[in-house]
């Protein structure tokens, strides 16, 4: 009869919101010996023949020293035979932890003795917990099939790295402000400070799998189960719970290769449903209170534009200007609002940047302005005017240079149309400057400064005085100059957008199911019509004079009373 066992000994990760001290695990080990196999076989036979009325055989239990079952709690320290002997003498105690173990061992010896026999644990505080991987490194099977592979430098260093304990997490406290750097660290300091800061608490459940009578030697300790948790509810168990499948198999090294079976079960007490409900109510309360606190800080309201008006908010900066002829540039800009657009009275619609001396970047001379500006405009939509297309505001700017000898020249004219879509835009505008033919003006520009300027800045785009179908600029001489870069962040706000987003969200659900005309779609349209009617009624009500509203409400009260 073939012995089947579970070969999947990988880690399993569990998440729980409960405190980890409620964790209980039942570990069972039993040695596979011939008597055990035989007794199993006999038990099976007896069970299958019970209806025959034979005498019940008392099966040979292979118990005693070859099997053990134990329920272990989180960080519960159970001593091995070796540790019992070690901590009995006071001389072996070096750290306070050792002394504590010594008192515990003495107390155990005085009372009825320890409840475990072969199975024992290493908790997070033990000094063996961190050196266990190193220990295993030398004795366990290597990663490679070649027999003579020693651990690499990195493997050795990682094995001796200390896993930092959870409570000593120095996140945002007690970092000394003065001596952050240690210029001459000692070897001890280096070893002690190279910690893996994943803040996991570890616990190893070990088994002493020596032949009976020879317990208490360190060579026969085998790792059965490793449990790791971090502070936020993750529990990692290696190997995973058996969950009714076959047990795991441990083969001991040494002259006699014995086989042991390992079964791991989760025996934590489940939470009562009332307690669960209470906990969930508490969480809900906490979140609601936090939300109310946030609301109280700022207030519930949000500034909205009046109905039917689009608010256009542009935050931008003039970043740089490059490729111009002369140095010491500054930019003078102003915004123009077309029809149906308005702005607040205190809003400044123009600005002048500082004068900047350019530097050479690559092949060009670039001047950095980094001039932030903020602009807010309102658009009032007129009813059903089909002729006028929506026109967006424009920024007209001119680039000028002023040098130390007070020579003032125009360097270029340009314009920037406000983007129609909200979001981030980086726009580079090219500029030109008007030229006068003939050497006189060029000489004047070079020696004295002073160059032709535009009288009407809007000529850059479409002149304000333009009425007609075709714009002709024939005969106007210009020269191409450099370019100016703007960074724009645009926001648009309107009451109509609120309904639009709700509509979009509802529509998505409808299209998911059937698409087109469906019962849900019809219900949605009815709901929308109802919302619209309700809103109109509210607006109408607001515009009514006060006394009319009062009399109607009085009438209602009388009729219901």
């Amino acid at each position: 009869m073939a012995d089947s066992w579970n070969t999947d000994t990988g880690e399993a990760v569990y998440r729980s919101r409960d405190a980890v001290k409620n964790l209980r695990i039942r570990v069972r080990i039993e040695k596979v010996t011939s008597t055990a196999v035989l007794s199993q076989h006999l038990q099976q036979q007896v069970l299958s023949q019970q209806d025959r009325g034979d005498i019940e055989l008392e099966t040979l239990t292979s118990g005693g020293d070859n099997e053990e079952e134990l329920v272990v709690g989180w960080q519960e320290k159970l001593f091995s035979q070796y540790e019992m002997e070690l901590f009995q003498s006071e001389a072996a105690c070096q750290t306070p932890l050792d002394r504590q173990y010594h008192t515990e061992v003495k107390a155990l010896n005085k009372s009825k003795g320890r409840r475990n026999h072969r199975i024992f644990t290493y908790t997070d505080h033990d000094r063996y917990t961190s050196c266990l991987p190193f220990h295993q490194l030398q004795h366990s099977t290597d990663l490679l099939t070649s027999t003579k592979s020693s651990p690499t430098f990195l493997a050795e260093r990682m094995a001796s790295v200390r896993h930092r304990r959870q409570d000593r997490r120095t996140m945002d406290c007690s970092i000394p402000k003065s001596k952050i750097v240690n210029w001459e660290p000692t070897e001890e300091f280096v070893k002690g400070s190279h910690v893996v800061n994943n803040a996991m608490q570890t616990m190893h459940i070990m088994g002493d799998l020596a032949p009976p009578g020879r317990l208490g030697q360190k060579d026969n300790e085998y790792l059965l189960v490793t449990i790791k948790t971090d502070g936020s509810g993750t529990v990692i168990i290696k190997p995973d719970f058996n969950k009714g499948k076959e047990p795991y198999r441990i083969v001991t090294a040494g002259e006699k290769r014995e086989v042991w079976r390992l079964t791991v079960e989760n025996v934590c007490t489940a939470m009562q449903p009332e307690e669960q409900e209470r906990e969930q109510n508490m969480y809900k309360d906490l979140y609601v209170r936090h939300k109310e606190y946030l609301n109280s800080l700022v207030g519930q309201d949000f500034e909205m534009p009046p109905a039917g008006i689009l608010r256009y908010l542009m935050n931008g900066e003039i970043v740089s200007a490059k490729g111009f002829e002369y140095d010491n540039l500054y930019i003078h800009f102003f915004m123009e609002l077309p029809n149906n657009w308005s702005s607040l009275p205190f809003q400044s619609l123009s600005g002048v940047t500082q004068t900047c001396r350019a530097k050479t970047l690559g092949k060009e001379n670039v001047a950095f302005f980094s001039y932030p500006f903020s602009f807010e405009a309102f658009y009032m939509s007129e009813k059903e005017s089909e002729e006028s297309v929506l026109q967006w505001p424009v920024i007209y700017f001119k680039v000028l240079s002023l040098d130390s000898w007070q020579r003032y020249r125009t360097e270029g004219y340009g314009y920037l149309l406000f983007p129609a879509t909200p979001g981030k835009h980086t726009i580079t505008c090219h500029t030109w400057r008007p030229l006068q033919t003939g050497t006189g003006s060029a000489l004047r520009r070079f020696f004295i400064g002073g160059s032709p300027e535009l009288e009407d800045h809007s000529y850059v785009r479409i002149p304000g005085t333009f009425k007609g179908e075709r714009l002709s600029r024939f005969g106007f001489c210009t020269e191409t100059t450099g370019s100016v870069t703007f960074n724009l962040h645009c926001l648009q706000q309107a009451r109509a957008f609120v309904d639009a987003t709700m509509l979009k969200k509802r529509r998505q659900k409808v299209f998911d199911q059937l698409g087109g005309f469906s019962q849900q779609g019809a219900v949605c349209t009815i709901l929308e019509a109802f919302q619209r009617a309700r809103r109109k009624m509210h607006e109408a009500r607001e515009s009514l004079p006060r006394d009319l509203v009062n009399t109607t409400s009085q009438l209602q009260i009388e009729s219901s009373a």
Partner: protein, 175 residues
């Protein structure tokens, strides 16, 4: 009430005459904005790159704002300083930029400039260092007085920001 999260880092700066740099940064908002959590100003460490021109700071920015209105959108300001081998600090540039208003990941290059004095001061600056500084950097935000300054272009501060906006669409804001 709408909320805005600004999560990112000041990566570093480059393009300055010398590269042992540190940066003082801050965020300036209007009256309707309230900082719920995070530090809204700070100073990075001094970085001296061994190769290359760019000094890297990787300084974290993690801010949570709540607001009642769209005005006064947050603006970042930077002051890039240079620390030389003697420990003297010298101003290398001022930079200003807006925090982006569309959600997502943004890579921002904020250019900087430095005020220039008279030619005597510039000569002295070449030998001894120093140079004029703004008496109060907040004056820049009003924008009205900028035209009086004579500046020169300096380097660029690189940062990357992730913007998360909450409840803005409930109030009809498209971004």
């Amino acid at each position: 009430m709408a909320e805005l999260h600004i999560i990112g880092q000041i990566i570093g700066a480059g393009g300055f005459p010398q590269n042992s740099l540190f940066c003082k940064w801050g965020v300036h908002t209007g009256g309707a904005w309230r900082l719920l959590s995070g530090l809204k100003e700070g100073q990075t460490q001094v970085d001296i790159p061994q190769t290359g021109d760019m000094a890297y700071w990787s300084h974290p920015i993690d801010l949570h704002y709540a607001t009642k209105g769209l005005q006064g959108w947050p603006k970042l300001h930077f002051q890039v300083w240079h620390q030389d081998s003697f420990g003297r600090c010298q101003l290398y540039g001022y930079g200003y930029c807006h925090v982006p208003s569309s959600p997502g990941h943004h890579r921002i290059s904020c250019v900087t400039w430095r005020p220039l004095g008279s030619w005597q001061e510039q000569l002295a600056q070449m030998f001894v260092g120093g140079g004029p500084q703004l008496r109060s950097p907040d004056l820049i935000y009003s924008g009205a007085d900028r035209y009086r300054l004579h500046t020169e272009a300096m380097g660029t501060v690189e940062l990357e920001l992730g913007i998360i906006m909450r409840h803005f669409d409930k109030y009809g804001v498209e971004s």
